[in-house]
């Protein structure tokens, strides 16, 4: 009873809260990093250096009036943010934060496929949110979003298959273990795949330069134009939780998950004093920083250019990478 129900439940509670708190602080981090990039200070008023802004923001969002447009489809309008957030959180069920079973909820043997398939459900929140608002800008944005997410999903999945070929396992723990045994992070084995997954990840999380579904200067806010208050904040949470998910995938697949750098080099063994989960979270934050950095730097793609990039560049390169990986796998 304790092992099967209480412990997993406790883990779920801790994990969910950790993710949600991480998201609020991620928002603060984004505001701060972008502010520094733009020679500003960012939030400074709430708490020392604006740290408590992470708490003030959610409180504000929760207290705001939750408006449902009269002509909106009420049920779908309410359901959409939930459908957007739930998959983003469900993914954490298989993310391993460390080597022991203590650090993860479950290690299923189709872990990677599980992540891919669950994130593919997240697109519903965006499409339905745009449709249910019964407004033109959100509808345009949600059509853009659905096309974008499906296209880039193909590229990312295709690329992940080449990593699966290298490891021979779909289990996330197994993939990290393979990197430990190989003594080399897959970032060095599969650099092309890393780039593809990262670019595809940017597109799948609707981050700049692929933030077309919510391009505020074109579509006034995208699919969540009509949302406010708590329901808006659910979309918001989902977006940032997805950022964490993509960073986690990149770290697990290519940067050795919880492993220290160059795990097999004895000279670097002293790095072992840092607990594995710190390595993991640290690497995730590194990638979140890159996400934010890119947002502060690059302009936005246009819709047709985005689709052209996805279909004419990323997918062919992903297939090529897959073929090359397969040939090398057989040849070596």
């Amino acid at each position: 009873m304790l092992e099967t129900i209480v412990v997993p439940l406790a883990k779920i509670v801790v994990l969910l809260n950790a993710v949600l708190v991480a998201v609020t602080f991620l928002v603060l981090m984004e505001r701060k990093v972008i502010a520094w990039a733009q020679s500003r200070l960012g939030p400074m008023r709430v708490g020392p250096y604006g740290i408590l802004q992470a708490i003030a923001d959610p409180i504000k969002l929760i207290l705001k009036e939750d408006i449902t447009p009269r002509k909106a489809d009420k049920y779908v309008f309410t359901l959409a943010p939930i459908m957007s957030l739930v998959p983003a959180l469900v993914v954490f069920a298989v993310v391993p934060f460390g080597p022991d079973p203590f650090y993860y909820l479950s290690d299923i043997n189709v872990g990677l496929l599980f992540i891919i398939s669950v994130t593919s459900i997240g697109v519903y929140g965006i499409i339905l949110g745009g449709w249910a608002s019964n407004s033109k800008y959100p509808l345009l944005a949600s059509l853009r979003a659905s096309a974008q997410l499906i296209s880039y999903e193909i590229a990312v999945t295709m690329t992940l298959v080449s990593v699966i070929l290298t490891t021979g396992t779909l289990s996330l723990v197994g993939i990290v273990e393979a990197q430990r045994e190989g003594g080399l992070w897959f970032a060095f084995v599969q650099p092309v795949a890393l780039m593809l997954v990262f670019i595809g990840g940017l597109a799948e999380t609707n981050r700049a330069p692929f933030d077309l579904p919510e391009a505020e200067t074109e579509l006034t806010g995208g699919f969540h134009t009509e949302y406010s208050g708590m329901r808006f904040s659910l979309f918001f949470l989902a977006e940032y939780a997805n950022m964490i998910v993509i960073s986690a995938i990149v770290v697990i697949m290519f940067f050795g998950g919880w492993l220290q750098p160059f795990p097999n080099v004895p000279a670097l063994a002293f790095l072992g004093f840092v607990p594995p989960w710190i390595w993991f979270i640290g690497k995730i934050f590194l990638f979140l920083y890159v996400f934010i950095w890119i947002r502060a730097t690059l302009p936005r793609y246009r819709y047709d250019q985005l689709m052209a990039l996805g279909w004419k560049v990323l997918i062919p390169v992903a297939i090529g990478n897959l073929v090359v990986t397969g040939i090398l796998k057989v040849a070596l």
Binding site: Q38, K136, R300
Partner: protein, 377 residues
């Protein structure tokens, strides 16, 4: 006019035409412009500009103000380039009354006008880049614009609506040390321009978003009455500062940058070059400021002789012209009419956006650099 689609469309579904209102409440219509877009999927097949949301009747008001009070009203037209508006108006009245402006005043006017051009272009660059999604440039450009505003504040006490010129000269001389500050600003600005260009000029996404977007040939641009950078971007060498020099421009050296393709990227490059030319002009003008009075001989009561005149200057947005009729009897103009560059350039918007995608509309509104205060007056 039929247009070839610039790129193959991704959505070939024959959906219904979607009419969407861009504005007047929209983050990238630069104020209260309303564009009624007719869309086929994401492609614009027709666009109508609806203006007048910030119409204050400045032209009509002017007919009931006396000649010096109108300077205040001109501030409120292109509110991001108030000094240029003042300059255009004052010169028109001077032309009407045949007042000789002292050389020192002309040099100072040139400095102010070119500083104003830098400030206005900073605002254009920031908002244009923001529309295309490069948010950092906005903050950078506003930071530098702030220095220009500080200079203006030191000169005349105001930061936006300067009321900085008088008929016959300037209201007051520059404060001591101001010229040094202007020169050091020029040095700073040159470095910052390189920063902007690093972020944008060779950025592949920026190139993709601006190259071959909104291409317009020189003849067409003339036909539509475009002026300023949109006209020069199509390779038409028209710059009032060169063609009909005023203030001190005939005594200073500068080039008029021209585009070749007439697309958004060329217009961007031209404005970036204009930044540099403006800095060059400011340097020359500040270094060459002669000694002397700042006001010419102006009668106490300004009452131009009966007659009419048109005078144009090159504002940051394009050719800013004033047409004034005086009846010679009253202390206010009989007819006051402005040829606002933003308004004339806005005419080109429909031609520019047709056939492009929704995302290009914001880029094209940005590239023609309109200020709604000037469009509506």
């Amino acid at each position: 006019m039929t247009l070839e689609a610039p790129r193959a469309s991704t959505t070939q579904f024959d959906t219904d035409e979607l009419v969407i209102n861009m504005g007047p409440q929209h983050p990238s219509t630069h104020g209260v412009l309303r564009v009624v877009l007719k869309l086929d999927g994401e492609r614009v097949i027709d666009a109508d500009c609806v203006i007048g949301y910030i119409h204050r009747g400045i032209e009509k008001l002017s007919e009931n103000r006396d000649w010096t009070q109108i300077i205040l009203l001109t501030d409120r037209m292109d509110y991001v380039a108030a000094a240029t508006n003042n300059l255009g108006y004052c010169q028109t009245v001077e032309k009407l009354m045949q007042i000789e402006v002292p050389r020192r005043a002309r040099y100072l006017r040139t400095v102010l006008a070119e500083l104003q051009r830098i400030a206005s272009h900073c605002l254009w660059l920031g908002t244009h880049a923001m529309d295309i999604g490069a948010m950092t440039v906005l903050l950078y450009a506003f930071r530098e614009r702030e220095f220009v505003l500080d200079l203006f504040e030191e000169f005349c006490g105001a930061r936006l609506t300067y009321n900085s010129m008088r008929i016959g000269g300037l209201p007051l001389d520059i404060p001591p040390g101001w010229d040094k500050k202007v020169l050091s600003f020029c040095d700073l600005m040159e470095g910052k321009l390189n920063d902007y260009e690093t972020l944008l000029t060779n950025n592949r996404i920026w190139l993709k978003r601006t190259r071959d977007v909104g291409v317009i040939s020189g003849d067409e641009a003339i036909g539509l009455g475009l002026c300023g950078p949109p006209l020069r971007g199509s390779g038409v060498p028209r710059d009032v500062r060169k063609d009909e020099p005023y203030a001190a421009y005939d005594e200073l050296e500068f080039n008029v940058p021209l585009g070749t393709r007439g697309d958004t990227y060329d217009r961007y490059l031209i404005r970036m070059d204009e930044f540099r030319e403006s800095i060059r002009l400011v340097r020359q003008a500040v270094e060459g400021i002669p000694e002397g009075p700042i006001m010419g001989k102006v009668p106490r009561l300004i009452k131009p002789p009966a007659g009419e005149t048109y005078h144009a200057i090159e504002s940051p947005k394009g050719e800013l012209g004033y047409f004034i009729v005086s009846d010679g009897k009253s202390t206010n103009p009989y007819r006051f009419r402005v040829r606002p560059p933003s308004f004339c350039n806005l005419q080109g918007l429909k031609r520019l956006v047709t056939g492009h995608l929704v995302a290009d509309v914001v880029a094209l509104i940005g590239t023609i650099d309109i200020v709604l205060g000037e469009v509506d007056r």
